[in-house]
């Protein structure tokens, strides 16, 4: 049986990808962020998952408002690197897993999630930044990727609760798969930021810490918040944390938070987490039968 072994949280700002590509991960300004990826890289190294489900948002690079989906899933065998207007990142295309992705798409649509199903999905920084942070050059691309894209760009965007339920539906779908797969799900984006209007650069560290507390121990409190509340506290783009709720919804009510990091250098509250499934911890420590 396939199962989800844990969830990751990660920012996805394009500046982080640039720091990686320019070999600045250890510069004084970036070190506090990339130190937060060390435990994630190590955990992935030990866990060796078979697949990453990446919950991310496009920033009008793959989709435009002529036809903007609420939720989209890639069933592609390979994902091109998108050119966002400043040249492609020097990354190889990232392999997908069509067989699992088609199964997932069927299961989600059967469960009344109205996914756009994509046989081609070039990826922008929303997905590429976390991928290049999770997997340093020597590890690219050992683990295939299924990207799931969420509209956070232009209302109407899905409610926080709908995102949490999507996570629950993903877990159901995974647990019905006969294959013996160990899957990691990642939520990306946020935390606090706003990139448009006089309120550009709004930050809120207190709220960011509260998000991280609730995400771990009481995600339904977040899922019950309106976009208005989330945007008021966390900025217009801070609403991206609904993508973390998809990840959280796919995990057990009680998770082991084995890593949490926070850094706010410029305009965005960057946070990383590892939530391990209790079941996975038991198996690894030999407690399970």
């Amino acid at each position: 049986m396939a199962r989800i072994i844990g969830g990751l949280g990660s920012p996805h700002a394009p500046s982080i990808g640039t720091a990686t590509d320019k070999d600045q991960e250890q510069s004084p300004e970036w070190k506090p962020l990339f130190d937060g990826y060390a435990p994630i890289r190590q955990w992935l190294d030990v866990q060796k998952p078979d697949l990453i489900l990446m919950i991310y948002n496009d920033h009008a690079n793959t989709f435009f408002f002529d036809k903007y989906p609420t939720f989209a899933i890639s069933v592609a065998a390979e994902h091109e690197i998108a050119d966002e207007g400043w040249g492609k990142r020097p990354l190889e295309p990232i392999p997908g897993n069509p067989q699992i992705a088609w199964q997932l798409a069927h299961s989600l649509v059967d469960q009344e999630f109205d996914m756009a199903v994509c046989q081609e999905m070039p990826l922008d920084h929303g997905c590429l930044t976390p991928m290049s942070c999770f997997f340093p050059p020597a590890k690219r691309w050992d683990v295939p990727l299924i990207p799931i894209c969420v509209n956070v760009l232009q209302p109407p965007i899905p409610t926080a609760m709908r995102c949490f339920k999507l996570g629950q539906a993903i877990r159901k779908a995974v647990e019905a798969m006969p294959q013996d797969l160990r899957i990691v799900i990642a939520g990306t984006g946020g935390l606090t930021h706003q990139l448009g209007g006089e309120r550009y650069g709004h930050t809120n560290t207190e709220w960011d810490q509260k998000i991280l507390d609730l995400m771990e121990t009481d995600p339904l409190a977040l899922a019950n918040m309106t976009h208005q509340e989330l945007m008021e506290r966390g900025g217009a783009e801070g609403v991206e944390i609904i993508m973390w709720l998809v990840m959280r919804g796919a995990l057990s009510p009680k998770v082991d938070c084995i890593h949490r990091n926070y850094y706010l250098p410029m305009v965005t509250g960057f946070a990383q987490v590892i939530y391990e499934e209790p079941d996975n911890r038991r198996r690894n420590s030999g407690d399970a039968a």
Binding site: S15, A19, S27, P28, E29, W30, L33, H59, A60, N61, F64, F65, D66, D83, E84, G85, W86, G87, L153, Q154, P155, P156, I157, T159, Q194, L195, G196, G197, E198, R199, Y200, G201, T226, H227, Q228, M231, E232, A236, E237, L264, P265, M266, V267
Partner: protein, 135 residues
Amino acid sequence: MSKEHPWEDGGEILAIQSRQIDYTKPLPGTYLTTGIRAQRGYRLGKFCMTLMAPDNRELFKADAEKYMRDFGLTDYEKELVRSKNWNRMLRYGVNTFMILKLSNAMGVSQNHTGAGMRNQSYEDFMATRNSKGAQ
């Protein structure tokens, strides 16, 4: 308030009822593009999207007026682009991520764009940040 362009002062109320966002109480300094605002800004947003292609950026840099004319922007839209007044563009209905494609093509970095939106100099804006390197 401009009678001809009632969105200019930023107080526009979008005629949308939603459980998620109270459009009658817009967040200050925040312009969500949806409804009539998204409809109004659609052409100019599409214009910004063309600037993702390197060839188009070259054409735009070489002769912005011709590029805008060829695309079919209205006079008002051309003036908006020339003005580099990003907040006016947002109010008109251009989504933040379209604007970042335009400002990039105009050689303005994200945080310079942001300082402009805040009506601050770049230096004044940067002085409010924790770390100047990680941008």
